[in-house]
Symmetry: C2
DNA sequence: CCAAAAATGGACAGAATGTCCGAAAAAGGA
DNA sequence: TCCTTTTTCGGACATTCTGTCCATTTTTGG
């Protein structure tokens, strides 16, 4: 962006503060953290903190923005050729699981259950946009009592975020491919096991 | 419980404080509320507040517990005869939507997006128990690469809570029966519209 | 080596928390 | 109704955290 060349001290200070916040979130949960905690962990003066960020929330938000930009850049870079796997639905899932695994501690802080909502909301928003885009087509036809697109989006994104948070909280034991496969199967085929068609 | 007869003043004070909190949550969001706000809204002295509750979170949690007890009592009362609609899956859904509609403002405070997580977690826990119970059977067989029960529970509950929150935030415009129908259809049949079997 | 920029620590006012106490008010039993 | 018990009240208090400001020291990059 506008940060063509940045003073080493600034980069170092901000980076240290971001990392301190992430580690504290995993330690004691976001709500219980004070600005003092962050500064002490980061070995940074409190006045320095306030010369970079206006509050704890500001620090969190800006760190999040940065990494979400990275995520979207990844996505753009690895975008499947349009029309390639065109009929592969919910394509956002695997890249996001992989990105989360590659930045596990950060994601556990941002999207884990200790992260305290704020970040989760931003991530949820991004995922919502991706999903809405994908299922945009098949909504307009069938004016009858079809399920509204907003409902489908809410449903899918809620389920996905829950899986992501669960996976991160448990230390991301299962491989991203497995998580992605299960999610897409549940979303497209429903929760009934294949042999329970018996009634 | 142990509250056989309760001094009128105590009942009145606690009730007023609970109601004050609920209304404030809808007004300014849970995080921004101070104990002073609650006391002023309720016309109760601050020392009185602390003689009943240890903190804002305590007040919220105890109010939540009370109403969750009521919800479970409702559920027990209206429980379908076991074996009656045995094959109707996800039976918890409709009663919970209806209960939420009957106590709309309270639920918007507890489970709406302004409620700030804490209550959502408790509700999610209860719903998780109900869902886990229901899909307990069909898990043990098929030792192969079947989707683990925890994953299915997480998926379903995440989707349900997202729908519930979305519905409440929007003022619960759609009838509970509609919400229930859409949820159960999405959960059992997946998100594909019936006519998109084309590939 | 030097001027500009950043980091530091300490002081400060303001807000909110949680505790304590004496005095006023309300409740409920006799 | 009266009297004792319990609750409520309001104010004072110590503590913690916030956010701002400034004079001083340190680091950076040219």
């Amino acid at each position: 962006m506008a940060d063509k060349v940045m003073d080493r001290r600034i980069a170092r200070t901000r980076g240290t503060l971001q990392r301190a916040l992430s580690s504290l979130i995993l330690t004691k949960g976001y709500d219980a953290i004070t600005v003092d905690d962050i500064c002490e962990t980061a070995n940074v003066g409190r006045s320095t903190f306030y010369s970079h960020f206006t509050s704890k929330d500001d620090l969190k938000r800006r760190g999040l923005d940065e990494h979400l930009r990275e995520l979207l850049a990844d996505r753009r870079r690895n975008a499947p050729a349009p029309g390639d796997l065109k009929d592969r639905h919910l394509a956002f899932s695997l890249p996001l699981f992989e990105h989360a695994r590659d930045h596990l501690d950060l994601y556990r802080a941002l999207a884990g259950s200790r992260g305290g909502g704020v970040s989760l909301g931003a991530i949820r928003q991004i995922v919502s946009d991706l999903v809405r885009e994908e299922i945009a087509d098949n909504a307009d036809r069938n004016p009858g009592d079809v399920i509204p697109r907003d409902v489908v989006v809410t449903y899918v994104v809620g389920a996905y975020m829950a899986l992501l948070t669960w996976w991160l909280d448990g230390g991301a034991k299962l491989p991203p491919q497995r998580m992605d496969g299960m999610f897409r199967q549940l979303a497209t085929e429903g929760i009934m096991p294949p042999d329970s068609e018996e009634r």
